[in-house]
Structures are given as C-alpha cells and as structure tokens.
C-alpha cells in the first residue's frame, strides 16, 4: 500500500519500504564548499520515518538505496541522529539496499544488501529494464495535474504490472517528472501514478 508520506507498506510481511532518504545531504553540500543549507533535513526525514513506523508498527524496514547522501555523510552523522536511527531499528529487521550515492557498508546496524528478493518481489535501487515484480527508487518520480488553471505537482509512486518506483522520502530531494525520458520509457503505457499528500491519489501516469 502506498502511504501519503511516500513510504510503501506491505501489511502481509509487516514491511515498510522507503527510498532515497539522502540523510546528511546538507552536510555533504557544505563539505564540498557549497552553501550552508539549514542543517535540519536529517532530523525532518527521521521524524517522518518515525511517524510511519508508529503508524504501521512494521517488523521489517527496507531502505531502498541512497539512504545517505554519500558514505562520508553516513560517517559524519551527528551522535544524536545516529542514536535516533538505532532507536528506530530496535526490535526490527532493517535492510540497507545499496544505492549509487552509498555504494558500500555503513557503520550502523542492519544488514547491507545489493538487492533483496521477497517472493514475488525484488527490492533494488535502480530499476532494470525487463524485470518483473520489482520495487525500486532512484529516480525521485513526481507527477503533476492541472486543475482549472492551477497545477499541482507532488512526489509520486509510479507503477504498472511489472514494477513500482517509489518517490524520494528524504526532505532535501527534488523530483523527476514522470514524462521525462528514463521514466516514460521504463513504464508501460497503462502505468499509473499515485500522488503523495494527505490523501494519496491515483491518476494515469502523466506523459
């Protein structure tokens, strides 16, 4: 089930899946000589994750890659936020899937995998063309709808009979329009988008 927060909830397995947390993004930008963005992104992302965990009481959590903005950001996480993650992990199975931003193990609890098969699904970071029953992230999909002269754009799940692509869950993340090339090619013609928000809403995937 697609939650309005951008997380995926699989009730039968009591599994919560989130993608592209990009924890530590503001730290990484500052480290590289960029602007000093408000350093509250990790806190905000974890607050929302904690709320979803309270809501679902999930026994397993799958972070679908790009959980950290880079491996340095994982190392540089402040003690407080590190402890917070540990508290969230307590009593749960926790899987970090490898992403292109965090292609190696991190010094936090939980198992570290390239991909995770739980029949009939496979969880991986970047969608493979031709795969089936696949859950992935990476592209940060978003979708927009025009309403009488106004246009609303929100992060969105994209799905068809072969695959599901999750929106980015992290606070400092942008989105790629569903009509952009890699997404439009990847998804079947009858694909739908579920726009996140207070009431998640399914629409035909905008092309």
């Amino acid at each position: 089930m697609a939650l309005g927060s951008g997380a995926l909830w699989w009730a039968e397995q009591s599994l919560l899946c989130v993608s592209d947390l990009h924890l530590g993004k503001s730290e990484r930008i500052a480290r590289r000589g960029g602007a000093a963005l408000p350093p509250y992104d990790t806190r905000d992302t974890l607050t929302r994750l904690a709320a979803d965990l309270t809501l679902t009481n999930a026994r397993s959590v799958v972070c679908l890659g790009d959980s950290f903005d880079d491996l340095g950001a994982a190392l540089a996480l402040p003690e407080e936020e590190r402890l917070w993650i540990t508290r969230l992990q307590a009593g749960r199975r926790w899987v970090w899937i490898e992403g292109n931003h965090d292609p190696g193990p991190v010094n936090l609890g939980g198992s570290h995998l390239f991909e995770l098969p739980i029949a009939p699904l496979t969880f991986r970071h970047i969608a493979l063309p031709g795969a089936s029953g696949e859950v992935s992230g990476h592209y940060h999909p978003k979708a927009s709808v025009s309403l009488r002269g106004r246009s609303i754009t929100r992060p969105a799940f994209l799905f068809d009979s072969d695959r599901l692509i999750l929106p980015a869950y992290g606070t400092y993340t942008g989105g790629l329009r569903s009509r952009a090339e890699p997404l439009a090619d990847l998804m079947r013609p009858e694909a739908q988008a579920i726009m996140t928000g207070k009431n998640p809403i399914a629409i035909p995937m905008p092309r």
């Binding site: 089930m1 909830w9 408000p38 905000d44």
Partner: protein
C-alpha cells in the same frame, strides 16, 4: 569657470553646437566628490558626464583607467561607446574606450584586466564581479571618476544597492574617486543624492532646463471604454490612425501579456500592413536585437513595448508615445513621455489610452499631475540585507578582510548608512556558518577567522562558485520556447515554468506576436509549432502588475470631491454622478464600504485605494477575519482601488474588521504559509548565497538533483523560524508584493472614519468589479477535493478505471491511509 580647451571649442563649433549651460556647470564642478545631474532625455546628458573626463585625458598623460561608466543596460554601454568614439576620433584624442558586460569574450576580458582602457563601460553585475578579483586594485589603479547613467532606475532596485557597495569597495582602493550621477526627472533628487554619495559626503544637485512642457492628451474615441479589463481593444482603430499620422510611435503597455494581445489585435486590424514590431523582456534576445536594429534604421512605424524600452537608449525619431492603460505612476509616465522627440527644446507628444472606465478617471488625474509637475514615489527604506550578505562573500573572494573595516566601508554607502553593527554581524555570521540555531558546520564553515582576526574563505575554490552566482536580478524560472524542427528550431522567447506546467499538448498561446501550439517539453525547452487559430489561450507569462502610486490614488479620491467633472468624457462623468445618487463616492480621509446582495451572495466592497498589491493582501486578511467572525466568506477580487468580497452572510458592522492589531496578527499566521513569502524567500536566499543558481556541475546532474527552495523555507519555518533568512524574507515581502505598508497607511488615513452603506443592489462604482479577472477563492479543504474530483475524471476518461484491478497473479498496488 573652467574654459573648454580650444580643440573642444573648435569641435563644438564644427558641429554647429554650443555647450549647454548644464554641461558647463558639470565642467566647473569636476572636482566635487559627488555630483548629481537631473536632465530630460536628449539634453546631452551623457556628454555632460564625460566632458570633464575627455578634457582631463586630452593631454595623453594619464596612465591606466581614468573613468568608469556604469549603466543598467548592456545595450546602453554599447550605445555610449559608439557615441563617445565619435568626438574622440574627430578631435584626435589619445583616449581608449572599452566595454565589459556579460557578453564580452574571455580573451577581451583578460586583456582589459591586464591593460585597462582609459574609459571603461560596464554594468553593476560586471563591476561586482571585477571587485571580487584579488587584482582589482591593479586594474582600477589611477581611477579618478565614475559616471553612473540612468541612476534613477538603479536607485529603485537591489542592483543599485549592489553597485553602491561595489563602489564603496572601489573608493577604498581609490580614495579620491569622484562620483557623477545622471538621472531623468525624479520626484526626490535628494534621495538619489543620498543614495549615490559616499556617506557623509555632500552631493550637489544640478538641474538642467527641463525643456518645454509635453503635449499630452487622453485619446478620445467614439466608443466608450469597457467597464473592466486592461486590453484596450476598443481603441485599436484610433491607435492605428495615430500611427499613420506620425513617423514613429512607441506604444507602451504595463504588462507583457497585454502587449502581446494588443500587438496581435493590432495586426489583425492592420490593413495597410504598416511595419509594426514588438519588444519586451520575454522575447528572445536575437529577436529583440532585430527589432532594435530595425528601429534605429527607421524601418518601423510603431513598436508595441513594455518597460524593457524604458531606459535611455536613443531610438531615433520617435514623435509619439502612446500609453495603453492607466500609467499607475506619474513619474514613470513622465519618463516614458521623454522617449518621444529627442530634439532638445521641442515638446514631447504623448497620448493616454484608458483601458476601462475607471482608468479614464485615473488618466485624467495623471494628466493633471504631469502638468502640475507633481511626481510620485515611495521612499525605499534601508538597504536590503540579502545584498549585504552577497557582498560579504564578494569581499571574501577578493582576499582576507577585517570585519571592522568592511563594516565601515559598507556603511559609507547611503542605503546602508544606518545599518547597525549587530545587523552586519548577523550577516557575517550567516556567510561564515549559515547562522543556524543548530551549530552544524563547525568543520565546514564557508568563512574562517584567522588567528590575526581577519576573515577568509575556508576553501579558496569556493571563490569560483561565489563569482558564478553574483547578481541580484531574479530570473523567475523560465523555459525557452522554440519552434519544433528536426534540430534546434528558431528560438522565440521564454515563458514562466508555472505557465508551461499548465499547458497540455494542443494548447495555443501568444508569443512574439504569433499564435503557437504547445507540442511538448524537451530538455527544459518548450517546443511549439505555428498555429493558424484566431484566438489563443491567453498568454499569462510574467508581467509585473504595477500598483497605482499613493499620490495618484490620492488625486483620484480628490477628484471625487468635485461637484461635477467637465474634464471627463460624458460617459464617465455620468457614471460618477449616478454613483453619487445611488450611494456615495469615496472621500479622502474616509473609508467607503458598500454591502449589498447580488447573484445570491452577500457582497461587500471596500474602497481602500491602497494599490493592487495592498488591496489583494487586504482581501486575504479580511476574508480570514470574516471567517473567524463566522461570516462565511467565499472569495474576493482586488483592483488598485477596491476589494470585493462575497460570502454567505451579510456584513453588519465593518468596524471590528479594521482593527490594525487583529489584522497584523492575521498577517503573521497568513504570511508564514504564503506563496508570496516563498517566492520572496527564493529571491532573497539566492541573492544571499544560500541557493546557488549556477554550480560548476549543474548542467550534468540533471533535474532530480535540485530541489525546490520551498522545501528550505518549510524546513526553516519548522526548525529555525527566527533565522536571518526568514527575517530578511519578512522585511522584503512586507515592502514588496504584500505591501502591508499601504494598508497601515490606509488605516491611519481613515482613522476609524468608516462610511458603511447597506444597499439593496449593486452600485455603479462596484459593478466593474464583478467583471474583474483574478477572483481568488477562499481555500481550505478545497484543494484536496478538487484533486480527488480531477483524479476520478482522469481515471474514467482514460479507461484505466475499468481495467483496474489487474490480473491476480501480479502484485497490486493501492493508495492508502
């Protein structure tokens, strides 16, 4: 008196000219630390600024740069170079002249830094960039004078603030630098003098002879103007007649969208195929350049334009200026009229075309103001701190600095003369660490304090990123528009991203005077094809909607106190008389409110005269108050003069609505989540260096790497609401689009004197409001509901609703919670 050298005398004589009195005065005062010349267009203003320079350089003894010329437009710099080269060549003066703008090639820039010309022409942005280099002292060595052209235009914007901070820097490098400002006619020369002089240097003001009074009239047509709207389509035949009678006509509009629509309609009616062009800021640069060139050659009979033609480029023989729509601001009107007839001592000719009935009144009020020489303008307030932050970073690029020295330097700029040290320190802290309540960047500070107390960049490579982001001009997010061809069709211009997002393939809109059909989006370019349709979907791309100035609004209210209006056309005078019989006219110093039922709703009209932005804000605040008071407001619409609110319940006692304290409280909460705040935040955060528009790797990483500034705003609001950027955003929003100052001014002006009229039906003055565009619904749960309805509709029409659920062996995805 400084006499002209013989060579100059002979040159003037050979041209059959004699030196203007104000040119002589400028020469006499060449040693003043700061000098402001106010002269009408065509008065040899630029030569006045440069004459002392040319005289000084005539002996060929000066080494290095002598005079720096700054103009708000690149095109102006090129123009001036041409105009200066003529006397220099003809008199055989040993003077080098060169320009530098964003378009100058890298090799020429390098040469300029190695071997600076005597006279250097540039723009505020290029100047800011130049002072950010470590070798600025070498480049500007020997600089004696700076000439700032069209300073009245710069004094109104952040570009001007940035320029003055850069000049403060130059003054430190060259302590004897003399400043000269050249300005068009303005209402408060003293304010500009304060803005441009090194604080607290005096600045003498020279007024050139303003020339003969302009010949300015209102267009009268057989047909009465419509009740509302801004298109003035009714006046097309009359305007065409005027174009035929004159050599070259400039047709000014207040917004780009209006200019496009008018241009389109003009061509539909242009049976003689008169050569008419269009020029505005959304058009592609090449297209604009083509129109400008045709204009200079005298090939065009008319140009439909916006403020992009406001500044002092010499367009040749313009003999008529037409202003479509009420001018909103008398000063701008006068400056526009100055575009006509560049021959000094000949009157400029101008024609005002009101777009609707109310604007007839406003045009007449504006005509009176022009004849009385009564210009308007609002004092601008202290210099904005986002520009200050950017300049601290610029200073850091140039090398290590001492905070005390930098503070002293910055407060020598007039706009920042009253800056408190604590405010400066907050900006420095922001530049160094981000200034967050949560200390997160101890290791990655942008600026570090060295053991000797000086500040410097932590990473010298950051200088490149900072330089890439210098500037205060905000391009709203725009997308390029191109004709769809195999590869690289013809560029047409730009439209706002928000507008592009509302387009679906097949939609038509106007750009560059032609109707085009939206085909699709490719790599951030809007692809279109030609379309033969007669009626486009309206082009709503950006156009600043100017608010009517306080002074002009007051004049209109003053007109309402007259017993009769012989100066108004009959249709308009009768309209006002009828209003007086049925209800009353708004009076100065009082607030008229009318309530009446109409369309099955209770209507309330507030004649606040606080300008469009102010009345818009008032509408938002009042509907919020009415909601609290249980009056069930449903929506509102605002013009420069009035706000119309509709709802379910009648308003009995308006007094509690106008409690300033309650309105201010409402403002606090309303502002926090407001789109205007987010837009202002984006602008200020970009200027202050929190958001980088340009990064070395930006092009490659693609769109999903960037995220919206709204997210930063929301994050700060939640975790750090008192952060410096939030303070700056509030300051900027309140004096900009929110315009709460005008509402405070209105409440003070009215001081409780409210005339509330309960009426049985709509009044003559209120009627046009029902035809206004831009009705704002009072939202709440509305957005979610609209979205749900639209989603159902889309699912139904696409047929997807029928094919869900899919076969059962495949996973099913549901939207939940």
């Amino acid at each position: 008196m400084n006499a002209l050298p013989p060579k100059f005398d002979q040159w003037f004589a050979s041209k059959g000219w004699s030196i203007h009195p104000h040119q002589q005065q400028m020469l006499d005062r060449a040693d003043a630390p700061a000098l402001l010349l106010i002269a009408p267009t065509g008065g040899g203003k630029t030569l006045s600024g440069f004459l002392p320079t040319l005289v000084d350089l005539a002996d060929g003894n000066h080494q290095g740069m002598h005079t720096l010329y700054i103009s708000p437009l690149k095109a102006l710099a090129a123009d001036i170079k041409r105009n200066l080269t003529t006397p220099v060549t003809e008199m055989g003066l040993p003077i080098t002249i060169d320009e530098r703008t964003g378009d100058t090639t890298a090799t020429r820039r390098k040469r300029q830094r190695a071997d600076p010309p005597h006279i250097f022409l540039t723009t505020p942005e290029s100047l800011a960039l130049l002072v950010s280099y470590e070798d600025a002292p070498r480049m500007f060595k020997g600089l004696k004078r700076v000439v700032i052209d069209e300073i009245h235009a710069l004094a109104e914007s952040k570009r001007g603030d940035q320029m003055m901070l850069a000049l403060a820097r130059l003054q430190t490098i060259c302590p004897d630098l003399k400043r000269v400002g050249l300005s068009a006619t303005v209402e408060d020369p003293q304010a500009i003098a304060h803005f441009m002089a090194r604080h607290p240097d005096p600045c003498e003001i020279l007024q050139a002879d303003p020339g003969p009074a302009p010949d300015i009239r209102m267009l009268s047509t057989e047909e009465a103007p419509p009740w509302s709207g801004g298109g003035a389509a009714y006046a097309i035949p009359a305007v065409l007649e005027e174009i035929k009678k004159h050599q070259t006509t400039l047709i000014f509009h207040n917004t780009r969208a209006q200019a496009e629509i008018f241009f389109h309609n003009l061509w539909l009616a242009n049976e003689d195929s008169l050569p008419i062009g269009i020029h505005h800021g959304s058009l592609d640069r090449e297209q604009r350049a083509r129109v400008e060139a045709a204009m200079v050659r005298g090939d065009l009979r008319a140009i439909v334009c916006t403020g992009s033609l406001d500044l002092g480029i010499d367009w040749g023989d313009v003999d008529l200026v037409i202003q479509i729509g009420a001018p909103k601001n008398v000063k701008r009107l006068v400056q526009r009229i100055g575009r006509a007839n560049h021959r000094y001592n000949a009157p400029s000719k101008a024609l005002l075309v009101p777009a609707n009935r109310f604007e007839v009144v406003e045009c007449v009020a504006a005509l009176d103001a022009v004849l009385a020489g009564d210009l308007d303008g609002d004092p601008r307030g202290p210099g904005p701190r986002d520009v200050l932050c950017q300049h601290i970073l610029i200073a850091a690029c140039a090398g290590p600095f001492d905070a005390d020295d930098l503070f002293a330097e910055m407060t020598s700029a007039g706009a920042y003369a009253a800056l408190f040290r604590a405010e400066f320190d907050a900006c420095l802290e922001f530049c160094a660490t981000g200034g967050y309540a949560l200390q997160a960047y101890d290791r990655w500070q942008r600026l570090l304090q060295r053991p000797d107390g000086q500040w410097q960049l932590r990473d010298p490579r950051a200088a490149q990123r900072i330089r890439m982001n210098i500037g205060t001009i905000q391009d709203t997010d725009t997308l390029k528009v191109r004709m769809r061809r195999n590869r690289g069709g013809k560029p047409l211009g730009e439209i706002e991203e928000g507008f592009a997002a509302t387009l679906t393939p097949g939609d038509t809109f106007l750009i560059g005077g032609q109707i085009v059909k939206y085909e699709g989006l490719r790599e951030m370019t809007v692809e279109v094809s030609r379309d033969a349709a007669k009626k486009p979907k309206i082009a709503t791309f950006m156009g600043t909607k100017f608010a009517t100035s306080t002074q002009l609004s007051a004049r209109v209210q003053q007109m309402f106190t007259q017993d009769s209006w012989p100066e108004l056309p009959r249709h308009t005078a009768e309209w006002l008389t009828l209003q007086r019989e049925v209800s009353q006219l708004p009076q100065p110093g009082r607030l008229l409110i009318e309530s009446f039922p109409h369309d099955g709703r209770e209507q309330t009209v507030i004649y606040g005269f606080a300008g469009r932005n102010g009345m818009q804000t008032l509408g938002l605040l009042l509907t919020k108050r009415m909601e609290e008071l249980g009056l069930h407001p449903m929506g509102f619409v605002a013009t420069d003069y009035a706000t119309l609110i509709w709802g379910l319940d009648a308003l009995d006692d308006p007094a509690p609505l106008f409690d300033l304290g309650a309105l201010q409280d409402g403002l606090e909460t309303w502002l926090a989540g407001n789109a205007v705040m987010k837009r202002t935040f984006r602008a200020s955060a970009t200027i202050a260096g929190l958001i980088e528009r340009n990064t070395p790797s930006a092009r490659k990483s693609g769109r999903q790497a960037t995220f919206s500034s709204d997210i930063l705003y929301d994050t700060l609001l939640r975790y750090d609401p008192d952060h410096l950027m939030m303070q700056i955003t509030r300051e900027e929003a309140l004096r900009g689009l929110v315009d709460f100052g005008r509402i405070e001014e209105m409440i003070a002006r009215v001081d409780g004197r409210i005339d509330h009229k309960r009426l049985s039906r709509v009044t003559p003055l209120a009627a046009p409001l029902f035809l206004e565009m831009g009705r704002v619904p009072v939202k709440g749960a509305a957005e979610e509901r609209l979205l749900a309805e639209e989603a159902t509709r889309l699912m139904e029409t696409s047929g997807l609703a029928q094919i869900t659920p899919p076969p059962s062996d495949k996973p099913r995805w549901r939207a939940g919670f």
